[in-house]
């Protein structure tokens, strides 16, 4: 029981991070109908920015952890959303009128470009930071096992919940949210009614990147080690989460992320760790067979 609880905590932490990245995939798909395969690498760029910021803070002898964390978050969100914006401008906007395949290939190219750019400028070696937040809360102690939630795990889960609430509010209540949903429904019509479609798409990319930035900072704090390759696997998992939840749906992305985190965690807890990914993708196949639009996805016809 204690063991299961510990694995639940591990799974939730992992799932929250997948979910944060998955929202970027889902939002971009929702608005322009393409998979932004460079999104995982945007997340990686954010992790590198976080490492640099933490190193700078350490050099400046800043010891207050909340202060440092806030500073790093702001810096990472700022630069990463600038990256998101630039990626959209250079790799996708020029191809918006072309076939569906062109922006997809461009996205893969962008992903390779980002990986190589980081590798060439930052080096191929792993970048570690010393532990930022240590220790945790002992939840429950049985003679054979102690359940504990690390402060950094708690931080990840709480931050994700807060961000989700803020995000839902923004999409449903603000003028930007309205424009965003209008563009999702019908870009041409939205443009005719005075919505600045280009601006809305740019902002969507920036928002997705900002969430990936938060995930990047969290990963840096949690694992303490980043390298130029982390975007690939995280991107694939988050993309799977988005598809599982129903690509295009925001709650779906979060649900998909949590599900994948929990499946991974519990599968490796009770069955063979080596088949963890097989299980994840097997369940994805099953869900897509039974519900081709994903768990919370809407069928495309609704747009008419």
């Amino acid at each position: 029981m204690a063991y299961a609880l510990q694995q639940l905590i591990n799974g939730l932490t992992l799932g929250a991070m997948y979910g944060l990245i998955a929202i970027g995939y889902t939002m971009v798909y929702g608005i322009i109908g393409m998979i932004n395969f460079a999104h995982g690498d945007i997340f990686m760029v954010s992790a590198f920015i976080a490492v640099t910021a933490f190193t700078l803070l350490a050099a400046a002898e800043v010891t207050s952890i909340p202060l440092a964390l806030t500073f790093v978050l702001i810096v990472a969100i700022f630069f990463t959303s600038a990256y998101g914006w630039a990626v959209e401008r250079t790799a996708y906007r020029p191809l918006r009128g072309s076939t569906r395949l062109a922006p997809l290939i461009s996205a893969i190219g962008m992903s390779i470009f980002l990986q190589n750019a980081v590798q060439l400028t930052q080096g191929a070696r792993v970048k570690p930071i010393p532990p930022v937040i240590e220790g945790g809360l002992q939840l429950w102690s049985t003679p054979e096992f102690t359940v504990q939630i690390g402060w950094n795990q708690l931080l990840i889960i709480v931050t994700t919940v807060v961000l989700m609430i803020a995000f839902t509010w923004m999409i449903t209540q603000t003028p930007f949210g309205r424009q965003q949903r209008a563009c999702e429904q019908d870009r041409t019509m939205a443009a005719l009614l005075g919505v600045n479609v280009d601006r809305t798409i740019s902002l969507t990319f920036m928002l997705g990147a900002a969430l990936a930035a938060v995930a990047g900072v969290m990963v840096t704090v949690y694992y303490g080690v980043v390298d130029f390759f982390i975007g690939f696997l995280a991107g694939i998992k988050a993309f799977t989460a988005a598809v599982l939840g129903g690509i295009g749906s925001l709650p779906g992305a979060m649900l998909g992320g949590l599900l994948i985190g929990l499946i991974e965690s519990f599968w490796s807890a009770y069955l063979w760790t080596e088949y963890k990914d097989v299980a994840t993708f097997g369940i994805l196949c099953l869900v897509l067979m039974l519900r081709p639009t994903g768990l919370l996805g809407r069928p495309e016809v609704e747009k008419v």
């Binding site: 070696r125 054979e144 694992y223 080690v225 965690s265 760790t273």
Partner: protein, 364 residues
């Protein structure tokens, strides 16, 4: 004016390529990019220094060596394409690849093209397939697995031990050998697990180890994953001692795992840096601000091996080189090298090391 410039440029270029044709191209291959790039880095530094030294001595058979670098990122598919590129470049000798899973398929290509190769890949299959062009300048996993397994069985008697690997040709092979050796000594691992290399989250595995009360983890795989496992184990309040293989020589392990790296033991050939004959070369590396750790001196030795074999054979033709390599004894920075019929080094030997305060040394 422009035309003359162009013509001169063409002529100069022609002259250079003429020169280049007269050189002897030798190659290294390994993970120059990707998550194991730091190992590729070590190999390149060692080979570059060796070639500079050989060329300063006047080259091989009166010709200067040039170095080709192939990047396989430890990906078997990329390794085969690197091998084909190297064959097209007409190399006369290859040192590589690094990952066993790359070396095994790539060596078929070199074998067909009659190119001799030296490698540090440790999987037994590297030399067990009867290819005559391979010479291994490192021991084998069945040897290092046995040394590691025996060490665990005697030093950690009565403790709970888990055997974990990363599913790679190298990692799984090594972990299986360690488990075998432990079992022959009467120690039964309480857990046998595999992980996915390249991931960042090993909290599931760590929790599983904690639940099983594991104190020692015998690990087959690369340093990058071990660092993460150690860090996450520490966070989960689990004191873990790790026994690994030759890939743990990388100082990146310490950068990534921090003080937790002090609990890492690993097997590696006797430290070539302690070899008195290597002292001038070690000095030279340190003067160039390169610590000749891990595979640096092995890459250096591979190039010395080629130099001496070619000089003995007075030729760089495959048949002559192969014969020279198989029959000769070579003086290198990693000690005297000679090979058996399979191409394995005759006196490999493994020692158990321990990381301590950011340096590794023989374990007590």
């Amino acid at each position: 004016m422009k035309k003359t410039l162009l013509a001169t440029a063409c002529l100069t270029f022609g002259a250079y390529s003429q020169l280049a044709l007269a050189d002897l191209p030798v190659a290294i291959a390994g993970p120059m990019t990707g998550q194991y790039a730091s190992a590729g880095d070590q190999i390149r530094r060692g080979a570059e220094m060796a070639i500079a030294d050989i060329n300063a001595r006047g080259g091989v058979l009166g010709e200067k060596l040039t170095l080709e670098v192939g990047d396989d990122a430890c990906d078997p598919k990329q390794a085969v394409s690197v091998a084909n590129t190297m064959v097209n470049k007409g190399i006369v000798f290859m040192h590589g690849h690094w990952c066993s899973s790359s070396t095994i398929p790539a060596s078929e290509v070199y074998h067909e093209a009659d190119i001799p190769m030296a490698t540090v890949s440790t999987n037994p299959q590297v030399t067990e397939r009867g290819l005559k062009n391979i010479f291994r300048i490192m021991g084998r996993d069945d040897q290092q697995g046995m040394v590691a397994g025996n060490y665990i069985a005697t030093k950690f008697k009565g403790k709970k031990v888990a055997v974990v690997d990363d599913k790679s040709a190298y990692g799984k092979g090594l972990a299986d050998e360690m488990a075998n050796a432990m079992q022959t000594k009467g120690m039964k691992p309480v857990l046998r697990e595999s992980i996915t290399a390249g991931e960042k989250d090993y909290s599931g595995l760590v929790t599983k180890l904690k639940q099983a009360g594991v104190e020692v983890m015998a690990y087959g795989g690369y340093h990058t994953e071990v660092a993460l496992i150690l860090r996450q184990a520490q966070q989960a309040g689990l004191q873990l001692t790790v026994m690994g293989g030759d890939t743990m020589t990388n100082s990146e392990l310490v950068t990534a795992a921090g003080p937790a790296a002090d609990n890492v033991l690993f097997t590696f050939s006797p430290d070539p840096r302690k070899n008195p004959a290597a002292a001038p070369v070690v000095e030279k590396f340190r003067a160039a601000k390169i610590e000749p750790e891990g595979y640096v001196l092995y890459a250096y030795a591979a190039m010395q091996l080629f130099e001496q074999a070619a000089n003995n054979a007075k030729s760089v033709k495959y048949a002559d080189l192969e014969k020279a390599l198989r029959t000769g004894t070579f003086d290198t920075v990693i000690g005297k090298l000679s090979f058996d019929a399979k191409g394995d080094q005759k006196a490999p030997g493994f020692v158990v090391y321990r990381w301590q305060g950011g340096k590794y040394d023989y374990a007590q």
